[in-house]
């Protein structure tokens, strides 16, 4: 059955960043140079072809974009400047918007202004909420103690509530990702055993990102891993230990040492990425989508306000620390609330999932019995030499 092409898809993908894909003339240098391109997942050429031709459903069900870490080798090798690396990046953005059933993600990726507006709106609501709530029971000059403006215990509960909502959204998107890439594919039927056997891939790739390390250039992997681990450490500290390290003014080094390390990691990686994007130092930094800038700006904002409120609090300036804390939260809530399910942060989940699904899919495809080969009839006259 012939697949109907959608000639408009290539235009649609432009706002996601795929501006040069039409230049590709399929020499295949990109797939040849990519260390990850292996049967049955050949890329970037094949997904680029699907995109050029507008084979929407084929793209929607492909895992290939997630198997790419954007080391940029392919873009460097491309004789036509078709930017295969950036095309894969754009496809990841497009897929994120496809997995998201709310349509919010699509809105954000298609318009940076709307995303900015949403971030600002969420920030204002967050600020207003926390100020009103703080004033209703505490004093602006008290950072901790019984009369605290934003008591750590309550914030902790708020964090868990927010995390719950985000997790539900993200998991729904993950389920849709499974449906698009594996579930609805009638040509394969992966066994339950295969799902269980390969499950270890999820935490493995999440924690180590060891696949990224296979790229020829090691530095991007290091930076990426540092950023991710710092983020993860901070998340664990906040989700599980907030009431323990939030009150001061004493510094509990057993916990704080992790906090300082994570902060340094976040700061370093963010500055590195910002500098890279501004100066376009590496292939993966050459093209910046609006969402990339917003992501880095939020990360920077949250890190700085976090550091500041910590210093103000330990310096005994309770009121100033409280104000900074509210401002900090005005960054944190939109960053997590919007980025995790709808935008860039979601790749934290999609990428390890893609490795997992890819393994399951490859195993299932290997199990599909090959067509029985035609028996080779050899004429006895020809073999008569015996």
């Amino acid at each position: 059955m012939a697949i109907r092409v959608n000639p408009k898809l290539i235009d649609d993908l432009e706002v996601y960043g795929a501006q040069d894909v039409s230049k590709c003339y399929h020499c295949g240098n990109c797939s040849a140079t990519c260390p990850f391109s292996k049967e049955p997942f050949i890329f970037p050429r094949r997904p680029m072809r699907f995109l050029q031709m507008g084979l929407e459903k084929k793209l929607e069900s492909s895992l290939e974009p997630w198997l790419c870490y954007y080391c940029g080798e392919c873009s460097d090798e491309c004789p036509r400047d078709a930017e295969p690396g950036e095309t894969m990046m754009s496809l990841r953005r497009w897929l994120t918007s496809r997995y998201d059933f709310t349509g919010i993600s699509r809105l954000f990726y298609r318009s940076g202004k709307i995303e900015l507006l949403a971030v600002v709106g969420a920030a204002i609501l967050t600020g207003l909420g926390f100020v009103l709530w703080g004033m209703s029971h505490g004093s602006i000059s008290n950072y901790d103690g019984p009369n605290a403006f934003l008591p750590a215990g309550s914030i902790h509960i708020f964090d868990w509530a927010l995390a719950g909502v985000l997790l539900v959204l993200l998991l729904t998107n993950c389920a849709r990702m499974w449906w698009f890439t594996v579930g609805r594919d009638e040509s394969i039927s992966p066994s339950l055993g295969s799902y269980v056997r390969s499950l270890y891939l999820l935490p493995l790739h999440f924690i180590t990102q060891k696949r990224y390390a296979k790229c020829e250039r090691k530095r991007p992997w290091g930076i990426h891993l540092g950023l991710m681990l710092s983020y993860l450490t901070m998340l664990i500290l906040i989700m599980f230990f907030l009431p323990l390290f939030q009150p001061g003014p004493s510094i509990d080094w057993r916990l704080h040492v992790f906090g300082y390390l994570a902060t340094a990691g976040l700061l370093g990686a963010t500055i590195y990425a910002l500098r890279g994007r501004l100066k376009k130092t590496e292939a993966q930094y050459k093209h910046s989508h609006e969402t990339d800038w917003l992501f880095l700006a939020l990360l920077m904002f949250v890190t700085f306000t976090g550091i500041l409120q910590h210093f103000l609090h330990r310096g005994g300036l309770g009121a100033a620390a409280n104000v900074t804390y509210v401002v900090h939260l005005m960054g944190v809530v939109p960053m997590l609330g919007l980025e995790v399910p709808f935008s860039k942060w979601s790749h934290l989940a999609y990428r390890p999932l893609a490795m997992y699904f890819a393994q399951v899919k490859a195993e299932a495809e290997a199990r599909v019995p090959e067509a029985v080969p035609e028996p080779v009839v050899v004429s006895s006259r020809v073999t008569g030499v015996m």
Binding site: A2, V5, P7, S22, Y25, R49, M53
Partner: protein, 573 residues
């Protein structure tokens, strides 16, 4: 017969000959033959020292015949003839024994190869004794030129010749000059207007004092030979027909091509689906400035299909060369006429070999032309779409680069029809006495080294009548043909090889067997005398008439019976 003084020179050709043939042995054997004054072997006879050795021997030893046992006469006969001439004897006193191509290169060595070389050399020694001191002749070269075909190529050649001082008779069958290029809108890859180029050419051609333009005309007959043709031009204006004869020295054939008839291909629905059109029909649309479907709607989707009639066994196996770039030009012109239109380009291979072509291809892809590759023999199939499809037609294609069978929407389909030889190319070929290949294209004298000359002296071919060609290549050929003609007319005379067939009128019985046999139409029949006569300027000395003549009335100069018998006896001795 008086005693000859023959010199025999055996060439080693480095090791080319010496590796297989005992050259000194051949020398010794030759030296013992009657009439042979000296026999020498040398590393390279064709080198300057080699030639000088022969010249000195002729002068000092008084040699009057020379045998060179070396390579094929096609390779170095002119070289050694020149040496003989320099030494002061007739260049036709030379005979070559081919002991390289016909001996050392084709044998495994050993005594047999040497024995063959000895035999070939002896054949040459016996033959050369009968060689005559032939005289080269020269005939007048008429400076007028006949150009057949008033297209881009014909006009370019005519202008070049006329500027050089020749009187040019330009014969065009149609009412207007311009040919196929006049039917085109823009040209690839620089998007210059074809109309502007053609108009400028026509104006110059019509106004040139040295060019006589014959419209509505055909060449009725062409008689004679190089430098001395008589052309009859038939002109028809309304019900008035005139016929005039002109003297011309050379002829340029620039009759061009005709486009492939798309209705011969059934699977694209041409003629049945109204919006499947040929490239020339699309050019018409472009020239009218209106790109629309037959129903008058603006197309949202357009598809271009390459290689219609070209590059397949069913119709023509050759590539028509211009369609790929023309297709890219259409993609460009479609996008500028209808910016919202999605253009697909279905090709087998993208041939972007010319200057600026690869950049043009790149620009085509940057403009988001959807390039789809199909396999030779696995052609796309077009069918009418349903109302729900939102387009006129659907094209199903097994796309090679994605390995997917896909379906693309189309409101307008353009078939890139290839070029083919004109229906009457055989008549033209007969008229000017040149040959055609299996596809009907005129054959050049040498495809690489002599691309505009033909096997008939004085007849030149230029442009797409010889094979599909784009405008730059055709113009280059037009100018090349003109340059060749001008170079030959500048001397006023033309040398004719002394080797040709002769009819002994006393022996000729007027049976005319030879007339039809001659592949070069070099034999004319004198109705008054009832005798055949060879036009020496046209004769290529193939010998067909000599062998066929029942009265033994025809002799080939330099290939007389006694020369050939002597050679045979020598070889067999």
């Amino acid at each position: 017969m008086e005693e000859r003084k023959i010199g025999v020179y055996v060439c080693n050709c480095g090791t080319n000959i010496a590796k297989m043939v005992d050259c000194d042995g051949v020398c010794e054997h030759a030296a013992q033959q009657p009439g042979v004054v000296l026999a020498k072997s040398y590393k390279y006879m064709c080198s300057n020292p080699g030639q000088e050795m022969i010249i000195e021997d002729i002068k000092e030893q008084g040699l009057d015949r020379v045998v060179v046992a070396a390579c094929s006469p096609r390779m170095h006969e002119p070289t050694f003839r020149k040496a003989l001439q320099t030494a002061g004897i007739s260049p036709y006193f030379l005979e070559m024994a081919n002991i390289r191509e016909q001996c050392s290169w084709v044998h495994d060595g050993g005594e047999a190869a040497t024995e063959k070389a000895r035999a070939l050399t002896l054949g040459a020694i016996r033959r050369v004794q009968y060689h005559q001191p032939l005289e080269r002749r020269s005939v007048n070269m008429c400076p007028n030129v006949l150009v057949i075909g008033g297209g881009f190529v014909g006009m370019t050649a005519a202008l070049e010749l006329a500027d050089g001082g020749s009187q040019v008779y330009l014969v065009e069958r149609q009412r207007n000059l311009g040919g196929n290029v006049a039917r085109v809108d823009l040209t690839a890859p620089y998007l210059d207007s074809a109309r502007d180029m053609v108009t400028a050419l026509i104006t110059r051609t019509m106004e040139h004092p040295n060019i006589f333009v014959f419209l509505n005309s055909e060449v009725g007959s062409l008689e004679g030979y190089v430098g001395n043709f008589r052309a009859v031009v038939d002109t028809v204006w309304g019900d008035q027909a005139t016929s005039n004869e002109y003297e011309v020295g050379n002829v340029v054939v620039a009759t061009g091509y005709k486009e492939f008839d798309a209705s011969r291909v059934t699977h694209y629905g041409y003629g049945k689906l109204p919006n499947v059109i040929t490239s020339f029909e699309f050019e018409k649309m472009l020239r009218a400035g209106r790109v629309e479907t037959k129903e008058g709607k603006t197309p949202n989707y357009a598809a271009i299909i390459h290689c219609v009639g070209s590059r397949n066994r069913e119709f023509h196996t050759y590539c028509s060369r211009v369609c790929c770039m023309t297709a890219l030009k259409y993609a460009h012109e479609l996008k500028s006429a209808v910016p919202s239109c999605y253009v697909s380009d279905l090709y087998v291979d993208m041939h972007a070999f010319g200057k600026g072509h690869e950049d043009f291809y790149r620009r085509g892809s940057e403009a988001k032309t959807l390039f789809l590759m199909y396999a030779k023999g696995d052609h796309p199939v077009i069918r009418k779409a349903e109302p729900k499809d939102g387009c006129e037609m659907l094209i199903e294609v097994n796309e090679k680069l994605s390995r997917e069978v896909i379906e693309i929407p189309a409101d307008l389909v353009i078939l890139m029809v290839g070029m083919e030889a004109r229906d009457d190319s055989d008549a033209v070929a007969r008229l000017v006495n040149i040959s055609r290949d299996k596809d009907g294209w005129f054959i050049e004298s040498h495809p690489k080294l002599d691309p505009v000359a033909t096997t008939t002296d004085g007849i030149y071919i230029a442009g797409a009548c010889a094979a599909p060609k784009d405008i730059p290549d055709s113009v280059a050929q037009a100018r090349a043909a003109a340059a060749r003609i001008l170079a030959r007319t500048i001397r006023g005379t033309i040398d004719i090889d002394a080797v040709f067939a002769e009819v002994d009128e006393d022996k000729c019985c007027g049976c005319r067997i030879c007339n039809g046999l001659c592949p070069y139409s070099a034999i004319e029949f004198n109705e008054e005398k009832k005798r055949s006569n060879v036009i020496s300027a046209l004769c290529k000395a193939c010998g067909a008439c000599v062998a066929a003549c029942p009265s033994s009335a025809i002799t080939a100069r330099h290939f007389t019976d006694e020369q050939i018998f002597a050679q045979i006896e020598g070889v067999l001795a």
